[in-house]
Amino acid sequence: MSQRGGAQRPNGAAQGKICQFKLVLLGESAVGKSSLVLRFVKGQFHEYQESTIGAAFLTQTVCLDDTTVKFEIWDTAGQERYHSLAPMYYRGAQAAIVVYDITNQDTFGRAKTWVKELQRQASPNIVIALAGNKADLSNKRMVEYEEAQGYAEENSLLFMETSAKTAMNVNDIFLAIAKKLPKSDSGGQSGQRPQPGVRLNEQNQASEGGCCK
C-alpha cells in the first residue's frame, strides 16, 4: 500500500496506522542481546560490547505495509542476579526476544527457563521469539538448529538463528514479530498514538531491508 505525500511526517489521516509496542530482550549474559539491538537500531556491531547494567532502553521504527510500528525496546542485563529485576521490564510487554548463543548449550537451557517464566508471568498474549545468536560461529555450534526449532514449534515461538555480527536475520526477526503483533486500533495494545509531530521519524529507519518498501 502506498503512503501518500512522502509520508515521513505522521500527519493525521494522510499517514497509515501507528502502533507502538513494548519489546523486551532476555537471555544469559554475553549471548548478544545488546549486539542484536545495536544492529537493529543503529546498524552497527562492536566486537567488544560493554556489559549491560540494569537495562538499556532504545526505540526503533519499522514500516509494515501501511502501518508504522514503533518498538520500545528494553535490553536487559543477563547476569543471574539481575533476574529478580526482569519482571519490571517484561511487565506489560507485547513482545519478547529470548536470546541464546548457538555455541553454548547452557545458554539454550537458560533461554527455555525464560520462555517458561514469560508464559507463566508475562501478558498472556505476548509474542515470544527465540533467537539463536552468533550463527556466524557455526564451526563452534553446540545447539543444533533442529533442536531449537522443535522446541520453538512445541511452544509456538517464532524462531530464527541470527548473527548480530553479520546482520543475518536481525531485521527479519523484528519484522516477523511486528507482523505477528495485532495492529488493530483497539487491539488492546498500549499503543497510544504518538501525537503528531512527535519524533517518530527522526529515528533513523531500520538501515537495511525491512523498512517502508
Binding site: 549474559s29 560490547q49 560493554e50 547494567i53 540494569g54 542485563a77 542476579r81 529478580s84 529485576l85 519490571m88
Partner: protein, 336 residues
C-alpha cells in the same frame, strides 16, 4: 590534557571520544576548570604538605567537595576511606586472595566481562600493550569475589574497579591499592548494593523516588503520569556509582565526595540531575522522551561542567537531613 589546538580523539584518561564529541564546548569547560583546579591544588598542598596520609576533618570534607587535585587523588582516596590502614594491617591478604583456588563459575563470569569493560579506553583495548589494565582488573575482581563470597561478582563492579585502576595506575602497588579501595567501598561505604538479592539497590531507587517527591513534587507527579519508575533509570547510576554514566571529570568529583561523606552523596547526584533538568522533564510528553532526556542529561554539558554540577548538588538542593533519609529508607523497605 589536549592543548585546544590539537583535537585529541582520546582524553587524558584514555577514553576514546565519541565522533560527535564537542571539542569547542569541552575546551571552553577546561579553560574554566583548569585554573580552578590549579588554585585548589595549591590550597591542598598547604593543608597536606608532604604527608603521606591525611585524617578526616571538616576541612578535608570541605576540600573534597571542591575537588581533590589529580596528583593527590590516589593518596587522598586511600586515606579518607581508610583503605590504606586496612592494607597496612593486612600486608599479605591480597596475595593470598589472588593465589587462592578460585571458584570456577566466578572465574568464568569475570573473564566474560574483562574485555567488555571500557572497550574504547586505550588502557583496556589492547591486551598486547604492556600497560594494558585487563590483567590487573581481572586480578582485582577475582580477589574481591574470593574474599567476599556472598557478593562474589556483580556486573557493574568491573566499571568501578576499571575506573579506579585508571586513576591509581601510576602508583606504587596500584593493583593492591585498588583491591583495598574496592573492598572498602563495598563493605564499608556503600549499602549492600551487590548482594545477589539486589534488595538494597532497589530500596535506594524507591528512596530516590520519595526524595524527588519531597523536593520536586511537580516532577514526581509528571514522571509518575508518564509511567516512569526510578529503578528503570537509576539502576546503573547507583550500581556503577556513576562510572560509565556521567562525564569522567564529574564522576571523579562525585567519588571525591562519596569517599569522604558516604552514600548519601549518590542521592544528591541523582537529585542534582533532576534539579538541573526540571523544565525539560516537564516538557516530556511520553515515556521514551523522558528516558532519552535522562540519557542525554547525564552526558550533556550540564553534567560536563562538574564545578557547577557539584555546586548544584550541595547548594541548590539544600539540606538533605540524614534522619529523614534514614526514616524514608525504612519506610520504603517494606514496599520492595
Amino acid at each position: 590534557m589536549s592543548s585546544g589546538l590539537v583535537q585529541n580523539d582520546v582524553d587524558g584518561y584514555g577514553f576514546q571520544r565519541p565522533s560527535n564529541f564537542n571539542h569547542g564546548e569541552y575546551d571552553a569547560f577546561m579553560a574554566e576548570y583548569l585554573p580552578v583546579m590549579t588554585r585548589r591544588a595549591l590550597r591542598w598542598e598547604k593543608v597536606i604538605g608532604n604527608a603521606s596520609r591525611i585524617n578526616k576533618s571538616r576541612t578535608v570534607k570541605r576540600f573534597c567537595r571542591k575537588g581533590i587535585p589529580a596528583s593527590l587523588r590516589p593518596m587522598v582516596w586511600m586515606s579518607i576511606t581508610g583503605a590504606d590502614v586496612r592494607m597496612e594491617s593486612n600486608p599479605h591478604l591480597y596475595q593470598q586472595m589472588l593465589s587462592a583456588n578460585h571458584d570456577r563459575e566466578l572465574t568464568e563470569t569475570i573473564e566474560m566481562d574483562i574485555h567488555r569493560t571500557f572497550p574504547d579506553n586505550a588502557y583496556f583495548s589492547n591486551p598486547n600493550d604492556n600497560k594494558c589494565l585487563r590483567k590487573p582488573l581481572y586480578n582485582i575482581l577475582i580477589s574481591i569475589g574470593h574474599r567476599n563470597k556472598t557478593i562474589a561478582y556483580c556486573q557493574g563492579m568491573n566499571f568501578i574497579a576499571g575506573l579506579m585502576l585508571l586513576i591509581m595506575k601510576d602508583e606504587d602497588k596500584y593493583e593492591e591499592k585498588v583491591f583495598w579501595l574496592m573492598d572498602t567501598l563495598i563493605n564499608n561505604i556503600l549499602p549492600d548494593y551487590y548482594h545477589p538479592d539486589m534488595h538494597a539497590i532497589q530500596v535506594d531507587q524507591e528512596l530516590l523516588g520519595e526524595l524527588v517527591k519531597w523536593k520536586y513534587p511537580a516532577i514526581h507527579t509528571h514522571l509518575d503520569h508518564l509511567g516512569l519508575q526510578w529503578c528503570l533509570i537509576g539502576m546503573k547510576w547507583f550500581i556503577c556509582i556513576f562510572a560509565d554514566v556521567l562525564p569522567i571529570d564529574t564522576v571523579l568529583r562525585v567519588w571525591d565526595c562519596l569517599f569522604s561523606e558516604g552514600p548519601k552523596i549518590l542521592l544528591r547526584v541523582a537529585l542534582a540531575i533532576v534539579c538541573r533538568n526540571q523544565e525539560k522533564i516537564l516538557k516530556c510528553k511520553n515515556f521514551s522522551e523522558v528516558t532519552d532526556l535522562f540519557q542525554e542529561a547525564v552526558v550533556g554539558s550540564d553534567s560536563l561542567h562538574c564545578h557547577s554540577f557539584l555546586k548544584c548538588m550541595f547548594e541548590e538542593l539544600g539540606s538533605l537531613p540524614m534522619a529523614r533519609v534514614n526514616r524514608v529508607r525504612e519506610e520504603v523497605k517494606t514496599r520492595v
